[in-house]
């Protein structure tokens, strides 16, 4: 547990450093805002249409896929570390888990959840 102390201190040092880097330009730069400068950048043109557009469902699908396979990895870590003790029983248990997940993946693949048109 004590080895996390270093990371904890490191986190504060990194926070301080980034705050310093963020703060220095404020101290040294000259800031004069005008409408041209603060308007939204769209390749030099004025904005063409409403900023609100229909959100693509694909992003959700990818996010959900990520959560599922991230969980899979969370299960794989302890398995990978203790495989020498668990033997074939442990090995095949995980294979069963992976097969079930793979079938879920096959389903997604065939349904076209991974196709970006």
């Amino acid at each position: 547990m004590i080895e996390f102390l270093g990371i904890f201190i490191y986190f504060f040092i990194a926070l301080a450093l980034s705050l310093i880097l963020l703060g220095v330009p404020y101290l040294v730069s000259i800031r004069r805002a005008d409408p041209e400068k603060i308007s939204a950048y769209e390749c030099g043109f004025d904005p063409f249409d409403d900023a609100r557009s229909q959100f693509d469902i694909q992003f959700y699908l990818v996010a959900i896929l990520f959560i599922i396979f991230d969980l899979e990895v969370a299960f794989l870590f302890p398995w990978a570390l203790t495989l020498s003790q668990n033997g074939f029983f442990g090995f095949w248990s995980m294979m069963l888990f992976l097969i079930i997940l793979t079938i879920g993946f096959v389903y997604e693949w065939r349904k076209g959840a991974l196709e970006w048109s």
Partner: protein, 518 residues
């Protein structure tokens, strides 16, 4: 070498440890593998351009029914009928085997009576069938769960499938609303349940029901302020209250019933059928085991809660259904009042109570399946020939003229639901009240009888509408689909002729109750 020796032993030990356990789990293993197989089959063929993107819901529906029938056969012919499996995680005995068979039958019948409806309403998602299968898998494991972890995990497996099923009809606002409501409230109730589990685990250090029973044995007389040296009883009582809250949420008993009318109304009708009939079986099975085995010595705590919830459910179910105009909402409130009656059997906490509860559950399932088989058959308006569902109670008007046979079946089912003598509903209800009386719950029995007199009013109102009220728009009932017709006929015979030969069911139910209580 010294280190390797025990590890080697452990490997050979663990690989043979579960050999017989898997033998006992063959029905579930078969069901899961069939589900996976059907999922792959469905997703490959439904997206295949060479087969012109076929709609597979009916096809896979029949496959799922077949799978359920095979699973029933596997359970019925199981070699191992009494065992504790997988490190005290699951248990099988006569009780679980009986409930599992009932659960599978109910799911199969639900699919059978909704196939034509799905086709007519073009709800073309074969996944719904797979989800019903997965929910049933979850319920089978729930029925045989013997510790808190398997209890919670299986509840989540079946609930997750249910949330998706409730929101099956994506283009309907009601269905999505039902899905969201069910998801939020269901997740909340699961959270309460999980908190109850963790309280009990935290204060006893065990997750197994039978270990809990040993731990609490003999603590019944202790006053609530006393904490024994190893664990604290008041904390465990708090955990039990949370567990009960989660349980009452899931079976839609008042005062935790708020979700059920909206969800029943909004979800597609086949899904409503599934929600009405199967989960009650599984939840009652799991919680009967938990409370009658694990917490039997803390009966003072949970019996009070169940009695209160039971009486509120009966009263609310009797009064709230009076004002309902939509048939699915009406049935939701009717099922709340039935949950109240079922809880009477739970509160008895005796063999007789469990027996009457199981009998009531079976009759309840048969009655609901009969009603939904009629609703799912639909009506056809004379002007435009589209199949429409019986949505309002008044849609039943003059069914006695347009389809007298269906009207009679519906009438018998309603009489049975109301508990009118020669039908099965009466016997199950009477048996329930007898067991309540013999467990010194006289007030509960009297309340049950009074509310069941009240419920007669609205059940008979439906019959009046069918026979005597003249409708504004005439609707012809369609030719009932073959599957629905068979199911209707069977349930009609069951409800009518149960009186002549009730012995087999009483015996089976008694055997199941004995397996649980002894």
């Amino acid at each position: 070498m010294y280190l390797n020796q025990p590890i080697y032993n452990q490997v050979s030990f663990s690989s043979f440890l579960f050999e017989n356990d898997y033998l006992a789990l063959i029905p579930e293993i078969f069901l899961i593998s069939a589900g996976i197989f059907l999922l792959v089959y469905g997703c490959i063929f439904s997206t295949s351009s060479t087969y012109n993107f076929p709609i597979l819901s009916t096809n896979i529906g029949w496959f799922v029914i077949l799978t359920f029938i095979y699973t029933i056969l596997l359970i019925y012919n199981a070699e191992i009928n009494n065992a504790i499996l997988l490190y005290n995680t699951l248990v099988i005995d006569d009780f679980t085997q009986f409930i599992k068979i009932c659960c599978l039958l109910a799911s199969a019948v639900t699919i059978l009576i909704s196939l034509d409806y799905l086709k007519a309403k073009s709800l073309n998602a074969f996944e719904s069938m797979i989800l019903i299968l997965l929910a049933t898998v979850g319920m089978l494991f729930l029925i045989s769960s013997a510790d808190f972890i398997s209890l919670y995990l299986t509840i989540e497996l079946q609930s997750l499938a249910f949330y998706v099923l409730a929101a099956l009809k994506r283009n309907s606002e009601f269905s999505t609303e039902a899905g969201i409501k069910y998801f939020l409230l269901g997740a909340f109730s699961s959270g309460l349940l999980l908190f109850g589990c963790s309280l009990i685990y935290g204060f006893t250090g065990t997750i197994s029901f039978s270990e809990c029973a040993k731990l609490f044995a003999g603590t019944a007389g202790l006053s609530e302020s006393i904490s024994t040296s190893t664990f604290s009883i008041p904390a465990c009582q708090l955990g039990i209250i949370f567990l009960l809250t989660g349980f009452l949420f899931k079976i839609a008993a008042a005062p935790f019933h708020m979700w059920s009318p909206d969800v029943y109304e909004g979800a597609p009708t086949p899904v409503t059928t599934f929600f009405t009939v199967t989960p009650k079986l599984a939840f009652f099975a799991a919680f009967l085991r938990l409370f009658l085995e694990g917490f039997y010595d803390l009966i003072d705590t949970w019996q009070t809660v169940i009695i209160i919830s039971s009486s509120i459910s009966m009263i609310l179910g009797a009064f709230a259904a009076l004002t309902q105009n939509k048939i699915k909402r009406f049935l939701a409130f009717s099922s709340i009042s039935h949950a109240g009656y079922l809880l009477v059997g739970f509160a008895c906490a005796s063999i007789e109570g469990v027996q009457s509860l199981l009998l009531y559950l079976i009759v309840y399932i048969v009655m609901n399946i009969a009603v939904f088989a009629i609703i799912l058959s639909g009506t056809r308006h004379t002007k435009n020939h589209t199949l429409s569902q019986i949505k309002y109670i008044t849609d039943l008007a003059y069914l006695a003229k347009t389809n007298p046979l269906i009207a009679i079946t519906f009438t018998i089912t309603m009489f049975s639901m109301a508990g009118i003598p020669p039908f099965a509903g009466f016997y199950s209800k009477a048996f329930l009240f007898f067991s309540a009386l013999s467990s010194n719950l006289g007030l509960l029995a009297i309340l049950g009888i009074l509310t069941s007199v009240l419920t007669c009013f609205y059940y008979i109102r439906l019959i009046r509408i069918m026979y005597f009220s003249i409708p504004k728009t005439w609707c012809n009932s369609v030719r009932i689909p073959r599957g629905n017709a068979y199911i209707l006929a069977l349930s009609f015979y069951f409800l009518t002729f149960f009186i002549f030969y009730p012995a087999p069911l009483y015996l089976v139910v008694h055997k199941a109750a004995l397996a649980l209580c002894i």
